[in-house]
Symmetry: C3
Subunit: 281 residues, 3 copies
């Protein structure tokens, strides 16, 4: 009953920043091949940090429409022997270097978490190495596969090209070890995995670990929670929009106030509440 | 006679920055619901600064096509009892928290300027509280109504959903006191309300207060004007693109050179000109 | 055989940054006039640096589809007597101030390289001064021709308006001296023309000058090359994605490590290789 018709969507995430024309060149290549809508997820992945890309990707992909083609590029190995790949999965397509940016997704789908090893592919997924020159720019540069390989592949998939056309099937995917919280009986130990634009400290501790009353240890101090909004003082320990514990300061930058960032340890102790309802597991 | 057909437009303004996937998540939610064109007005509102959002919104909305859905989010109160709202006004739709970002527009429309109070709604406007869960994500997070409430509401309005569908009618709007220039007989006193990317100092003094020859007092110095371009030396005092006085330095950053920023006082004295034509009012 | 139909494309490049609503205002004006797709090439041209705009433009335009309308604005002379122009060339349309941002393109097309002089127009190009008020906003501000003149002209061209409609024909174009490498017999001397988001130092020395074995002198040191990827240590001297020599540091910021930036001298000596194949010219 909508006024507009469905249109293919290509979503881009890179570590290119916006100060150069790199993202613009990718969008130009795409626009020359398809009228698909292009969405920027972010271009501020920490430079060449594949694990940061994997984390940011995990926060965004659930909201895209089925069928979306997601391109993710943090690619320190461009020009080496790492493979450019496309993946067809249950919800659409994934395009980028085979270097581990799918680690969070693969973990969630298959509970695999090997140490930077090649892992079997989750059931129902198809992986293709992007080797067909018909879907590459000529010549392919050594340093910018985003423009020369990934953008034309994404455009082709958005236009309905079968993934098998793009290159030969692959039997494995590179995954990296994703930092996981550890529950050592009463205390859950995790870490900060992202600091957002507001200075909020995003951890890797999911809400399932948090009871109705918690004590968070971070940066040498303690915060009671969970808070109900960012306005709790002096710090708010609450479940953020990605379903994990985050630490914020009302109208201020918690990362700067606490002097910590990515990798900082965080632990949570669930506390008994003097109320009738039991803590939720 | 154009080659392209009219398409609904959704315009986004936030304080989210582009370093996270927050804006990308909103665009993903929108793309899953409509093929409307999405325009970024800016995502660099000063963090949690509703008055800055109100100012920036006032500079951009006049240029959007009729029917546009404008989403504006600087939302320090997310998760508290501030209301999420949509407004139907004479030129389209406005979506965001009811916290005052419409203050410049309401002032211009109805000359209301109460001190952070709830004000009557301008004639012909309809305001709805965004309470219908059919137009929200499930579950609604406590911290990211941009994704969970405002993006789906904007998509629904772009697709032609009646505003009454989104939730119950409201009778008032929160407005903030907008900094207004004061004319004390000969001298107009105002302030800097924005510093742009070039370091130009944008004031709240409209061109209507400026005669054919003016003397501007700022940062302890004086500048004659109005200049005809940014090339006036050492500083150009001229009417900028939003119709207000701004102070620039040719090929340089005036804010840095003068050592001032938002909130700095500015005054203007109209001067007699030794020419035949009288100063314009 | 694609699922989507061809749509006109407008590509934007400015020095406006994204912290203000300037780019958003241009996009609003465009959206009010056409449903053409809008692509951001970059908005981080060094402020008011026309030569930097010319360089960045040269890196991006080859990838846009034929027929694209490219708007490029680094415009220190806005409000002075510099002309706003549109150009119809072999691959589409170019819109912006007549101040030299087309210098790289004109050089490549016609090998012209006069010192900041007006040059004849390459064969087959049409240049129009944007003087027709029917394709301008009313009133035209003194400071923001991007919104008031260039955006409506770009939208008109995307909608199929003939360039002759926009204003009178012009017989010349302003060009600036483009920094060119000098070959003094065995050693090619050039300079850094751009530092990208990763800190890679982009030079003006094309791959045609680089043999199979080179010695690069930069920042008082020497680097052997060309490398095959960014992973060469301690520095990689390689042909980058624009076909020119660039210097990178693996997983690090070469500009910061070497303490140099735009304008730094670079020289290359081709070296004999102890292999059967001769160095490529």
């Amino acid at each position: 009953m909508g006024m507009t018709e469905n249109k293919p969507v290509i979503a881009l995430m890179t570590d290119f920043g916006l100060a150069d024309t790199y993202v613009g060149q990718m969008k130009s290549v795409i626009a020359a091949r398809t009228s698909a809508s292009v969405i920027d997820l972010t271009h501020s992945v920490a430079p060449q940090n594949v694990l940061h890309a994997a984390y940011l990707f995990s926060t965004a992909h659930p909201y895209l429409p089925d069928g979306a083609v997601i391109v993710c590029i943090a690619d320190p190995g461009v020009g080496t022997d790492r493979s450019p790949i496309a993946v067809q999965w249950t919800r659409g397509y994934l395009v980028g270097p085979d270097n581990g940016w799918l680690s969070y997704l693969v973990r969630d789908v298959s509970a695999a978490n090997a140490e930077s090893a090649e892992t079997p592919i989750p059931e129902g997924w198809t992986v293709a190495a992007l080797e067909n020159p018909a879907y590459q720019l000529t010549p392919v540069s050594r340093t910018f596969h985003g423009r020369d390989i990934f953008a034309p592949a994404a455009a082709a998939l958005a236009e309905g090209t079968a993934i098998e056309e793009l290159g030969p099937k692959r039997d494995s995917l590179v995954t990296l070890a994703v930092p996981m919280p550890v529950d050592d009986g009463g205390t859950v130990r995790g870490q900060v995995v992202h600091v957002d634009n507001f200075g909020n400290l995003i951890t890797n501790i999911p809400s399932a670990y948090l009871g109705a009353s918690i004590l968070v240890s971070i940066a040498g101090g303690e915060i009671r929670g969970p808070a109900q909004s960012y306005q709790a003082k002096p710090f708010a320990a609450l479940v953020g929009s990605s379903g994990v514990l985050e630490i914020a300061a009302p109208n201020a930058n918690a990362a700067r106030l606490l002097g910590i960032g990515i990798g900082a340890p965080v632990s949570v102790t669930n506390q008994p509440r003097l109320v009738t309802e039991p803590p939720k597991p």
